[in-house]
C-alpha cells in the first residue's frame, strides 16, 4: 500500500525537499531518469540500496543475474535495443571487478550504461578494507566517465550527470562508485536533470562547409561506396541512410556492428565489411573512387593493412567523435556530426544516377563468393552440418525478423554473414572487445527490452560455457529466449587460425564438452540436440514454435573454416576465398 502511494506521488515528491537516505535518493534518481528495468547482484557494500529497491518494486524491475558479468551484458543488450542507458548494480570488490569486462565491451561498442558499485565506508577508503577495490582507478580506462560518491549530498547531481553523459554524444558506460555511508546518510531530496556540462559538447555544431565539401565530392563520384557503422543505429538514421543511398545510387556495406542499419534485401546492399565480411565490399574498397564512411571507426578488423587501404579513394568520414577522424585512416573530408544530422543535410544537396557497371562488379564478386564459399557451406555435401546451414535456416524461418544475439567466434561471423536482417537494430553482438560469453546474457537483456520479439542467441560451445549460469535468469523470469549452441567441440575460430597460420598445431583448442542438453534441462529449460541434417529444419521450427525458453544444440562440423577471410596483416583486396 505504502509503495503504491509512493509511486503515485513520485513526480510531486520530487521537489518537496523531503529528507531521504542516500539509497532512496539513488533509487528515486533512476526513476526520474526514466529507468524501469535494471540488472545486478547484491552484496554487503550495496545492501542499503537494495533495501531501498524493496520499496520500489513496482517502479523498478530488478533482474538478478548469476554473475555480474552476465548482468552487464544483459544491460548492454537492453540498452542497445531501447536506446536507454542500461543500468547495473553490484557490490564492491569482487562484484565490482566482475563488471570490468562488460564496461570494456560497452566502451568499445559505444553502449550507454550507468553502472553503480557499492564501496566501503568512506572512512576506510585506501586502507585495504574488506572488499575494497579502487573502482574509479580500475574503471577509468574503460568508462566514458566515472565518479566516487562519498557524501549523500552529491548523489542527485552526480546521477543526473551520469545519465546525461552515458546517453548523449557518442554513448558509453559510466561508473558511479558509492560508499556505504553515503547510502545511509540522509539529506533533502531535490532532483534536477542535467542539461549540460561546460567541458563536454556532446552534439557538435554542424559545420556547413564540411557538408558542402562532402556533397561536392559525393556528387562527383563515379564509383562511390558507403560504409555504414553502428553510428547509423545509435542516431536512428536508418531512413536517412536509405534516402542518401537511393538518391546517390551508392552501394551500402555494413560493418559488423552496422548490420541491420540497412535492409539486406535492398538492391543497393552489398554485404558486410571486414576480415570475414563479403568479398565484393572488401575488394571494392580498393576500387572505389569515393568512400563515404558513416558512424564507423575504421577498426583494424575492417581495414586490414592500413597502408594498403583505399589508397585510390577520396574519403569522407562522418563521425560524432572527433578523435576518430584521422585516427586509423587519414581522410580527405572529416565531418564532425551525428550521422542523422549530417545525412539530413546531405540529402538536401546530393544526387546521382544509376551506376550499372559499378553495381555489376559487386554482383560479379558475389557470384564468385557464392560459388566458392556460400553454396558449399549452405548446401554442404559433408556428413556433418555446417554452421552456415543452421543460420541460413534460422534466417529463413524467422524471415530475418528475429533479434539475433551472438557470442564470439566462428558462429558469430557465420551469423553475421548469413542472417538476412530485415529490421533496424536487430543484431546484438560484441564487436570491439570480442567478449566470449556475451551472447546468451545479451539475449536475456534483449528479451526483457522487447518481450514480444523472437530473441535468439547463437553461441559456440566454448563461449556458452563462459556465462552458462545465466540460464538461471531465463528460468527465474520465464523469458522465452531461444538459445542455440553450434557445437564443433573446438574453440573454432582459434582452431581456424591454428589451421591457417600455425601449421595446424592445435594447441589447447579441442574441448571435451559436457552434455549440454542435460545441463540446460537441469535449469528447467526445454532442450534438444540435433546432429543430422534431415532433422535440422524441424528442430529449428520446433524451437521457434515453442511458447517459452528453448535450447537447441546443433552438432556441427569440427573442421570447417569461416571464409572468405582477410588474413591478419593483409590488405582488404587480398581477401582469400579458400
Amino acid at each position: 500500500m505504502e509503495t503504491a502511494a509512493k509511486a503515485e506521488n513520485i513526480k510531486e515528491m520530487n521537489n518537496t525537499g523531503e529528507t531521504l537516505s542516500g539509497a532512496e535518493i539513488l533509487v528515486r534518481s533512476l526513476i526520474q531518469e526514466g529507468v524501469d528495468t535494471m540488472f545486478g547482484y547484491i552484496g554487503g557494500a550495496i545492501m542499503p540500496v537494495y533495501d531501498a529497491l524493496y520499496d520500489y518494486q513496482k517502479e523498478l524491475k530488478h533482474y538478478m543475474s548469476r554473475h555480474e558479468q552476465g548482468a552487464t551484458h544483459s544491460a548492454q543488450a537492453y540498452a542497445r535495443l531501447t536506446k536507454k542507458p542500461g543500468v547495473c548494480f553490484t557490490t564492491s570488490g569482487p562484484g565490482a571487478t566482475n563488471l570490468l569486462t562488460g564496461l570494456a565491451d560497452a566502451y568499445l561498442d559505444s553502449t550507454p550504461m550507468v553502472v553503480i558499485t557499492g564501496q566501503v565506508h568512506s572512512g576506510l577508503l585506501g586502507s585495504d578494507a574488506f572488499q575494497e577495490t579502487n573502482m574509479v582507478g580500475l574503471s577509468m580506462p574503460v568508462t566514458k566517465w566515472n565518479f566516487q560518491i562519498t557524501k549523500v549530498e552529491e548523489i542527485a547531481e552526480v546521477m543526473a550527470k551520469a545519465f546525461y553523459i552515458a546517453r548523449t554524444g557518442r554513448p558509453g558506460p559510466v561508473l558511479i562508485d558509492i560508499t556505504k555511508d553515503a547510502q545511509v546518510q540522509k539529506t533533502e531530496y531535490k532532483y534536477e536533470r542535467c542539461k549540460g556540462i561546460r567541458s563536454y559538447q556532446p552534439v557538435p555544431k554542424l559545420n556547413m562547409d564540411e557538408i558542402s565539401a562532402a556533397a561536392e565530392l559525393i556528387n562527383s563520384a563515379k564509383k562511390p561506396m558507403i560504409l555504414a557503422g553502428q553510428g547509423i543505429l545509435l542516431s536512428g538514421a536508418e531512413q536517412e541512410l536509405m534516402e542518401f543511398a537511393e538518391k546517390t545510387q551508392t552501394p551500402v556495406a555494413c560493418t559488423l556492428l552496422g548490420l541491420s542499419s540497412f535492409p539486406t534485401d535492398h538492391p543497393l546492399y552489398v554485404g558486410m565489411l571486414g576480415m570475414h565480411g563479403n568479398y565484393g565490399p572488401n575488394m571494392n574498397t580498393n576500387q572505389c573512387d569515393v568512400l563515404i564512411a558513416i558512424g564507423m571507426r575504421f577498426d583494424d578488423r575492417v581495414t586490414g593493412d592500413t597502408s594498403k587501404y583505399a589508397k585510390q579513394a577520396k574519403i569522407v568520414h562522418i563521425d560524432i567523435d572527433r578523435s576518430e577522424h584521422n585516427k586509423n585512416i587519414s581522410v580527405d573530408i572529416p565531418v564532425l556530426a551525428d550521422a542523422k544530422q549530417a545525412l539530413t543535410e546531405l540529402n538536401k544537396v546530393v544526387s546521382g544516377s544509376e551506376r550499372e557497371e559499378w553495381m555489376q562488379t559487386f554482383k560479379d564478386y558475389y557470384q564468385l563468393e557464392y560459388e566458392k564459399v556460400i553454396e558449399k557451406q549452405t548446401h554442404s555435401s559433408r556428413e556433418r552440418i555446417n554452421m552456415a546451414e543452421v543460420i541460413d535456416c534460422l534466417s529463413e524461418k524467422t524471415n530475418g525478423e528475429a533479434v539475433l544475439c551472438t557470442d564470439v567466434g566462428q558462429h558469430q561471423m557465420t551469423s553475421a554473414r548469413y542472417y538476412k536482417f530485415k529490421n533496424p537494430n536487430t543484431q546484438v553482438t560484441s564487436g570491439g572487445l570480442g567478449t566470449m560469453g556475451f551472447g546468451m546474457p545479451a539475449a536475456i537483456g534483449a528479451q526483457i527490452a522487447d518481450p514480444n520479439a523472437t530473441v535468439v542467441s547463437v553461441s559456440g560451445d566454448g563461449g556458452f560455457q563462459m556465462t552458462i549460469q545465466e540460464l538461471a535468469v531465463i528460468r527465474q523470469y520465464k523469458l522465452p529466449v531461444k538459445s542455440i549452441v553450434l557445437n564443433n567441440s573446438f574453440l573454432g575460430m582459434v582452431r581456424q587460425w591454428q589451421d591457417l597460420f600455425f601449421e595446424q598445431r592445435f594447441s589447447y583448442t579441442e574441448m571435451d564438452n559436457p552434455d549440454f542438453v542435460k545441463i540446460v534441462e537441469g535449469y528447467g529449460i526445454k532442450a534438444k540436440r540435433v546432429s543430422k541434417r534431415e532433422e535440422l529444419q524441424d528442430a529449428i521450427q520446433e524451437m521457434l514454435d515453442f511458447p517459452g525458453a528453448f535450447f537447441l544444440e546443433v552438432v556441427v562440423e569440427t573442421e570447417s573454416n569461416v571464409l572468405p577471410m582477410i588474413a591478419p596483416g593483409a590488405a582488404v583486396s587480398e581477401m582469400r576465398l579458400e
Binding site: M140, W145, S199, Q201, D321, R322, S323, K327
Partner: protein
C-alpha cells in the same frame, strides 16, 4: 621523433590527472615533464606536458585528451611556437670556500640567491632546461646537496587564447 609541448585546460577535479596520463601511457609515450596549476581562469587547471613523439600520434593524443569529460581544450606545439621556462633550485652547503667565486658565477648565470643560512644556501635560476643543467654542472664543484627543477611551463604564441575557446564551449 620530435619534442612537443602539449597544453591541456581542464576542470580542477580529482582523478583528471590520472585520466590525462592514461592517454599517454596506453600508447607508451613517456612524459618528459608535467606541470599542473591554475590557469588565467579561476578553477581551470593548465597542464604543460612535454613529450617526444611523432606528429600523427600527438594529433591523436590531443583529440583523445579533449574527449575526457572535464577537459576543455588540448593543444600541441613545436618548440618555436611557444615561450617556455623552467625553474631550478640548488641547495649548496655553506662553507668559506664559496666566498667570492660563487657570486661571480651567479651573476654570470643570471641566477639569484634565495636563502642563506649558516649551513646552506639556496640558489634559484629560471631558464631553459639546458641552461639550468649547465649551472648545476658548474655548481657541482661546491657540492650540490639538492637540485630540484620544475617541469616546463609554457605559453603559446598563437593568437587565439583559452578564454575564447571557453566562450565557444559555453554556446
Amino acid at each position: 621523433m620530435k619534442e612537443y609541448t602539449i597544453t591541456v585546460f581542464s576542470e580542477n577535479n580529482i582523478g583528471l590527472l590520472n585520466e590525462v596520463t592514461i592517454v599517454f601511457s596506453r600508447r607508451k609515450i613517456n612524459i618528459e615533464s608535467l606541470t599542473v596549476s591554475e590557469s588565467e581562469v579561476k578553477g581551470v587547471s593548465r597542464y604543460t606536458i612535454v613529450v617526444f613523439s611523432d606528429e600523427k600520434k600527438i594529433e591523436n593524443v590531443v583529440r583523445q585528451l579533449e574527449k575526457i569529460i572535464g577537459v576543455f581544450k588540448a593543444l600541441y606545439f613545436e618548440a618555436e611556437e611557444i615561450v617556455h621556462q623552467e625553474v631550478a633550485l640548488f641547495k649548496i652547503a655553506n662553507s668559506p670556500k664559496l666566498n667570492g667565486n660563487l657570486e661571480a658565477l651567479i651573476r654570470r648565470q643570471n641566477a639569484k640567491i634565495l636563502t642563506v643560512n649558516p649551513d646552506f644556501l639556496v640558489i634559484e635560476r629560471v631558464g631553459y632546461k639546458a641552461e639550468n643543467q649547465e649551472l648545476f654542472n658548474e655548481l657541482e664543484q661546491y657540492g650540490v646537496l639538492q637540485f630540484a627543477r620544475s617541469g616546463r611551463v609554457a605559453v603559446s604564441c598563437q593568437k587565439k587564447e583559452f578564454t575564447s575557446y571557453l566562450k565557444e564551449l559555453s554556446h
